[in-house]
Amino acid sequence: MTQTPTDELLRKILGETRVIVCVGVSMNSVRPSYFVARYLHLRGYRIIPVNPAYAGDEFFGRPIYDSLDSVPGNVEVDMLDIFRRPEHIPEIAATAMNRFSSSLRTIWMQVGITHGEVAKTAESKGLQVIQNRCPKIEHQRLFGELRKMGFNTGIISSKL
């Protein structure tokens, strides 16, 4: 996915995803990545944080892992959400595609992060790839929350 994702694709991904592994997420409560993980947890997604700096700590009662390899192999991860710099993307993506090959459907790179080669490889394996976006902001935009603060959501609907 090198083009702007459509709202239809974003809705599909946010609708079908249940388990998100967040690589590089901070547990500092004023860091942007913590905002994202916390928000997605409160919206009902199961968040699996990966960050060696916080390995052994808990996030809403669930363990934080030091690497993707430490995440139990029986967890059905739907989505990889990457909060690391572009140079780390190939290794993280390859590990996740290998380790969660039966369940992984989406690779998501946060705002400011893109990696054309990884995106191409993942898409050729049938995965959905979103780059340079934030799942929290897209969820807030598509499901009405940003509307409350006067943001342009692009949503026109005559339905309840």
Binding site: T4, T6, D7, S29, V30, R31, P32, F35, R38, Y39, L42, V111, R133, C134, I137, E138, Q140, R141, E145, L146, R147, K148, M149, G150, F151, N152, T153, G154, I155, I156, S157, S158, K159, L160
Partner: protein, 432 residues
């Protein structure tokens, strides 16, 4: 965020931001005449106060009716989001507030609405801010006026009242190369005639009191952000790029990215300056916006007809309207404002101050008021009213010399408006 919706302007002016009320099914946006909102639990309250979630807390920050207006206008302006304020003047202060510290300055056009000139030349000095007034036709002067402490360039799109239209793309290049935002007051043009963000502006301010509400009913202002400016590219904008003490050291731009300016406008600006818009005013303004394009077409058509008639009249010295072929800005207006150069212009009467006073007093349909953008045609003698606080030099620069009268052309029959001007001119000139 790149929005994939491709609806036309007329559809968006009716629908953007609004949806049937989820509780009642009410199709028209309800007036939420309400101050406070119940939290689901203590965690929900904490998340809202920490800005971890977006939601209603207190109507000073955001309100369901006001939120629809914010989304409607920001959608029409092709922006990312909006901040509604109590008036256009409040919107100007609120727009500058996240950008400015004491000792900072802005570079502004000499051809601004008189009230803005007064706000920028006097009142903002009390905050330690300063404005440098420059002729925006002299691009070298604009460039030279931008210094180390300059935090924005400010202009109007279609200027009130001088018959001047700003070359927004050229000015926005100067702002871009200086690493500062261009703020455009788009009140007189409305997003129907001009969308400054598409021409390079970063921020838009509106007095919604004018064409957006349209009927001269209620006060309101609005700021729209393009969402495109990199507030962290320099150390010029610490309110957005540096830790905010009132939110546990959160950095707005780092945390919220392109949403930062609009969230700051609510969570810090409206919270602490308090210049929020009343829900009833937002509701009335939304009703007005539903017909914005239809009204603007008639406003502009009438303005062209009347300006052309005045220009041929021997009692008139000059008409300054960028919609006239004779205007020095006609080519620019056709290029940048192809649907029309607004419906606001001035004309100079042969005679002087007293002739203008008699003219204004003799009109029967045009109302003598300090307003513009009403369905009714309005007239004002700027030199004796709105621009009275200015020096003669400032009046001249603003297009408000003593023999100049400003018209805001309404949507009545053009023939009736011409007949009214004709009889009033006859009376005004007869007594000289």
């Amino acid at each position: 965020m790149d929005l994939t919706a491709t609806y036309g302007f007329d559809t968006l002016q009716v629908h953007a931001g609004a949806q049937p009320d989820p509780t009642t099914g009410a199709r028209q946006t309800p007036v939420f005449q309400n101050t406070a909102y119940v939290f689901k639990d203590a965690d929900h309250a904490a998340a809202l106060f920490n800005l971890q979630e977006v939601g209603y807390i207190y109507s000073r920050l955001t309100n369901p009716t006001v939120a629809v207006l914010q989304e409607r206008v920001s959608t029409l302006e092709a922006g990312i989001g909006g901040i509604a304020c109590s008036s256009g003047h409040a919107a100007q202060i609120m727009a500058l507030f996240p950008l400015m510290s004491p000792g900072d300055d802005i570079v502004v056009s000499t051809r601004l609405y008189g009230g803005t000139v007064t706000q920028f030349s006097n009142t903002i000095r009390r905050f330690g801010w300063r404005a440098t007034f420059v002729d925006f036709e002299d691009l070298a002067s604009v460039r030279n006026a931008v210094g180390d402490r300059t935090k924005a360039i400010f202009t109007e799109s279609v200027c009130n009242p001088g018959g001047y239209v700003t070359d927004i793309p050229v000015i926005s290049e100067i702002a871009d190369s200086a690493g500062i935002p261009l703020i455009v007051d788009n009140t007189s043009a409305t997003p129907y005639l001009c969308r400054p963000i598409e021409q390079g502006a970063t921020l838009i301010v509106h007095s919604t009191t004018k064409y957006l509400s349209g009927n001269g009913t209620c006060m309101g202002g609005l700021i729209v952000d393009s969402g495109r400016f990199d507030w962290s590219a320099s150390d010029k904008f610490p309110s957005l790029s540096q830790p905010e003490p009132a939110y546990h050291g959160l950095k707005f731009h780092e945390t919220f990215g392109e949403l930062a300016y609009v969230l700051h406008g609510h969570a810090v600006g409206l919270r602490d300056l308090g210049a929020c818009q009343a829900p009833m005013n937002a509701f009335i303004t939304l009703l007005g916006i539903e017909t914005l394009s239809l009204r603007m077409q008639k406003h502009v058509a009438n303005a062209v007809t009347i300006a052309e008639w005045l220009e041929k009249d021997p009692r008139i010295e000059a008409v300054t309207y960028a919609g006239l072929a004779s205007s020095p800005y006609a080519e620019r207006a056709r290029r940048l404002y192809p649907k029309g150069a607004g419906a606001l212009f001035t004309f100079a009467v042969k005679g002087g101050y007293d002739t203008c006073i008699r003219l204004v007093d003799s009109l029967r349909i045009f109302s003598h008021v300090a307003n513009l953008g009403d369905t009714r045609s309005l007239v004002i003698h700027s030199a004796s009213t709105t621009h009275r606080q200015l020096t003669p030099e400032q009046q001249e620069a603003a297009g408000a010399a003593p023999n100049v009268v400003r018209l805001s052309i309404g949507i009545e029959d053009a023939d009736d408006l011409i007949a009214d001007l004709d009889q009033a001119l006859t009376r005004a000139v007869a007594k000289t």
